[in-house]
Amino acid sequence: MAKKSSRDRMNNEINAGSMADIAFLLLIFFLVTTTIVEDKGITVKLPPWSEEDPDITKLKTRNVFSVLVNAQDQLLVRGEPTRVENLREDAKIFIRNPYNAPDMAEKPTKAIISLKNDRGTSYDAYLRVYNELKAAYNELWDELSEQKYGVPYSDDMPFAYKKAIRDEIPFVLSEAEPTSFGEE
């Protein structure tokens, strides 16, 4: 009896010490092959392709908020040079037209923002302008939503609420075919 059977002496557990190493190996593999991408951006719905250009001359000038960006990234808003910092406020005032100015949108549903750029405009400037215009609408939606439902506008809102707000202030941004003065 003094002699123990070898089975008793043997530790019947699997050695889990190397498990950590295996897991580390996997972890490092994933760290190397993956990227934490900032998959964020400005979502845009492009208009369907049509051969003929849409005719915006039929629109009343008072309802069109024209934004031109030239190849030097300078802005011309409704015929006047401005800075991108003022664009958001200008657009908001134009769309809402709180004082019923005769040269601004009749009502938010009729407001149209027309954006035109040059082929030489830098993408950075273009996106900054687009961002400001989108921000103007987002702020207007927020304000309206606060007024109506007491919560800021968000994608998690009930669909009916969102639709009601978007019907009242629709986001209409038309992009004209760019000019090609400054193509590099």
């Binding site: 889990a16 010490g17 498990m19 950590a20 295996i22 897991a23 580390f24 996997l26 972890l27 994933f30 760290l31 092959t33 993956t34 990227t35 934490i36 991408v37 900032e38 998959d39 964020k40 951006g41 400005i42 979502t43 845009v44 719905k45 492009l46 208009p47 369907p48 392709w49 190849a71 750029n117 040059d118 082929r119 030489g120 405009t121 830098s122 993408y123 950075d124 273009y126 996106l127 900054r128 687009y130 961002n131 989108k134 921000a135 987002n138 994608d155 760019p178 090609s180 400054g182 193509e183 590099e184």
Partner: protein, 158 residues
């Protein structure tokens, strides 16, 4: 004296490492969930601009990526320094876009075709000319949902 040493010999003062794999696995799963497999090596320099009005792209499988930027140092001798389009892992021309979109489309179930988004990852310094051409081609191909990739503006006043 011998009493002490005997006692120490019996109790094993080792830290148990049995839970270490669990911790590492937790880390591993965390990384697997929050990251995406790198699908393409970038051959163009893409540094997306800053913006504030961002929406998050939810499902990675419904997104295809189009990169526009100047070729990186390595490829400049071959492709020059003009902004180029990269689809998947190779340089492409505007005419390759429809095929690229179609190849992505067959991997997506039919009922979700309408939810496919094209993520335009464009370098901030690129001029609009090439971006416009890509946009036009996307419109012609019926791919209308587009996301201009951008970074969150760190000095945004919110």
């Amino acid at each position: 004296m011998s009493k002490f040493s005997k006692k120490r010999g019996k109790t094993k003062p080792e830290v148990s490492t049995a839970s270490l794999p669990d911790i590492i696995f937790m880390l591993l799963f965390f990384f697997m969930v929050v990251t995406v497999l790198r699908d393409a090596e970038l051959k163009v320099k893409v540094s997306t601009p800053y913006a504030t009005e961002l929406t998050k792209l939810e499902e990675k499988s419904l997104v295809n990526y189009l990169y526009i930027g100047r070729p990186t140092q390595k490829f400049q001798s071959l492709y020059g320094t003009k902004p180029r389009l990269q689809l998947g892992d190779k340089f492409a021309t505007i005419q390759d876009i429809p095929l690229f979109l179609e190849k992505h489309k067959i991997k997506v179930p039919e009922n979700r075709h309408g939810q496919i988004t094209s993520s335009l990852r464009v370098d901030g310094e690129v001029t609009m000319g090439i971006v416009q051409d890509v946009k036009t081609e996307l419109r012609k191909s019926g791919q209308l949902k587009v996301n201009y990739s951008a970074k969150k503006d760190p000095n945004a006043s919110e």
